[in-house]
Symmetry: C2
């Protein structure tokens, strides 16, 4: 039988990153293409204790159906935590638990966008989100980013050209893939422009709790007095991605629609994972855990960056990250970036070609992304040696 | 700010059942409206042992990112199990893990339907699925069901009137809400008609493993030699709904597109839940567990049905279930069904009015649904006494 697919899905390709991930989970490949938290950063002992306690004292709570909005004590704790620590959440906002932050991208698009609508995004940007948008048949308009985030002139031009854009998608802190942080001035400017043009903002913030250097920057959501920002948070980078627990803080009217769509998507987020995150935040020293994580990432980042400087420093430009999981490296204009990455994979070092992150799938890129959290220190050392040789041969 | 929602979502209402569920989780209400597995049927001790073992011996596997298609050993085991036990799965099929069977409804619609497309469904049918379809702006065409499943003449008329229908949605075994089982002859007829008209079938089968009486019936998927059936299965009714682990067996070309959409929806299903289901099926006596469950449901069903006969038997028609979680009761044509259910809720007994399950949201119904798995035996006794009094007053 010839199967006929829905229009947006017919043309959608699997995420290049996840395809590469499969490829590079084969033994022998150095996984600089991945985006996993470092295994040593996963709080396995604490989660083991929490899980044993839950299964002993309240097993039915962990296994029974729950409500779509999420486990109420976790929602209440997060509301308070986000308010106190990050000034996120106003009277008009609501917070619900989602199946990872990825589901926020899915639900926001489902709720706000008809096929053919426009979403403005950073260019490059996280392919998982871009594909979530594409899966609803929307039109992506990319705004180039400078070292300090979205180019504001280009953003305003995009807003003028697309007055009906449904929202601006941004990862202001440790942007994926570029690793850059949007300056406070630009955060204010993005907010002001969104307000001026009557466009919502979808702020994706998976990485800010991994910051291991520099000053914390205010989220755009913390500036939201007008109910125009949908904020996506997650436990994936700080407790566990495998549990699939994220959340959104957004105007209640929008959240209400997201709940209806979440109900029809997966009924609710797995409740055992929600209980684990709740107990972790309320019964253990969550802040101390975040600090330990930061130390893991600082060391791995410094290790990789030192070796980048040593082995391929003469060929690449990059900004040393202050958090997040990635380094974004730019090759000279004369170099065939995809050719270089292919040569690296042929030598069993997997990186992600920058083209994977372009809003326009036909665009080119001189950059590639490397991850320092997934590989072991030994793999980082070995992989960078290999990349050094590949660069010497390929770029000579 | 005035928020503008996508066209299908703007009109979508929250599931009446989940709204009632919230209402009836308040203390003092008898939860005949719910659909939870009986707490005593949840295998809490086994899951506690399995979870402890996982967190001791392979905690990183339980917390790290996994692949979108699902945990490979669970997929492989399920493929073999479904093939051997249920003759489900051919060379052209593939099996992936989903976030509950609910996600199969979401993904199938996302992959196959454009806004305005038609889905043919049983009338009445499971509101969670109907709302999943509605959330993509499809047009639902309901086919009335007889005591032995879909009316075949009406199905053919619906197919003739809607030659471009994308699929036929059916719950052939212990249909929700009606509780009826489609006869083998009708299963064959539905398959033959789907094939004749070039329309796919989405077969939802959450309840067949709860059968506590009567002969097992072959699934429609087991007849699928043409690659036209998408099958949805789940662990929700047999291990735990809270873990949100389901699966689909469907033609590989369709599954491939579902994987792309799952990637953008929630990346993957929580891996701890997948590991638990895998270990349960492979390291413990899963069949003995299913038998214990059946016994729990048989007793609760018989208790409720006996009390229905005693207290309201003179007012209602119903078929005694051989499995599933629900009894579907029909009031005389002269009775205002919604008024009766409202009077029951006023007396703290929550049932679900049949109108909630109609494909056409403006249709009327003489039936209401009662669940025997959620309430305790004491609640069943008390609730039925109350319903008897309500009936006597209201229907006199």
């Amino acid at each position: 039988m010839e199967y006929k697919f829905s229009a947006p899905v017919a043309d959608l390709k699997p995420s290049a990153i996840r395809e590469i991930l499969k490829f590079t989970s084969m033994p022998g490949y150095i996984p600089f293409a991945a985006g996993n938290p470092a295994p040593e950063a996963l709080p396995t002992e604490t989660v083991a204790k929490i899980t044993a306690d839950i299964m002993l004292n309240r097993p039915v709570d962990a296994l029974q159906y729950s409500v779509t909005e999420g486990y109420v004590p976790l929602r209440n704790h997060l509301k308070e935590y986000m308010k106190q620590k990050h000034n996120i959440g106003r009277e008009f906002d609501e917070l619900i638990i989602t199946t990872g932050a990825q589901q926020v991208m899915n639900l926001a698009t489902m709720v706000l966008c008809n096929r053919g609508d426009t979403i403005i995004c950073e260019n490059p940007s996280f392919i998982g989100s871009l594909n979530a948008f594409r899966s609803f048949g929307v039109n992506l308009v990319g705004v180039d980013i400078d070292f300090d985030g979205m180019n504001i002139e280009k953003l305003e031009a995009a807003l003028k050209a697309n007055p009906d854009a449904r929202f601006i998608y941004t990862i202001p802190t440790f942007q994926n893939p570029s690793g850059c942080c949007m300056s406070v001035e630009k955060r204010k400017a993005v907010y002001a422009l969104a307000k001026k043009y009557g466009v919502l903002i979808l702020e994706d913030n998976p990485y800010s709790d991994t910051r291991f250097r520099g000053e914390e920057l205010p989220t755009i959501k913390s500036m939201d007095e007008d109910g125009i920002v949908i904020y996506a948070g997650t436990f994936s980078k700080v407790i566990s991605p495998g549990l699939r627990v994220g959340f959104t803080v957004a105007p209640a009217a929008i959240v209400q629609k997201m709940v209806v769509c979440k109900q029809t998507s997966d009924v609710h987020t797995n409740i055992l994972g929600q209980l684990i995150c709740h107990d972790f935040m309320t019964k253990y020293d969550y802040e101390a855990h975040l600090d330990r994580n930061r130390e893991v990432y600082r060391k791995k980042c410094d290790l990789m960056c030192g070796l980048i400087d040593e082995h391929i420093g003469q060929y690449v430009e990059y900004v040393r990250p202050e958090g997040g999981l990635f380094v974004w490296l730019k090759l000279p204009e004369t170099v065939d970036m995809v050719g270089f990455c292919t040569e690296a994979v042929n030598n069993k070092v997997a990186t992600v070609p920058g083209t994977a992150f372009c809003a326009d799938t036909t665009a080119t890129s001189q950059s590639f992304r490397m991850n320092y959290s997934t590989p072991t220190d030994e793999q980082i050392v070995k992989g960078m040696e290999i990349l050094g040789k590949v660069a010497k041969d390929y770029l000579k």
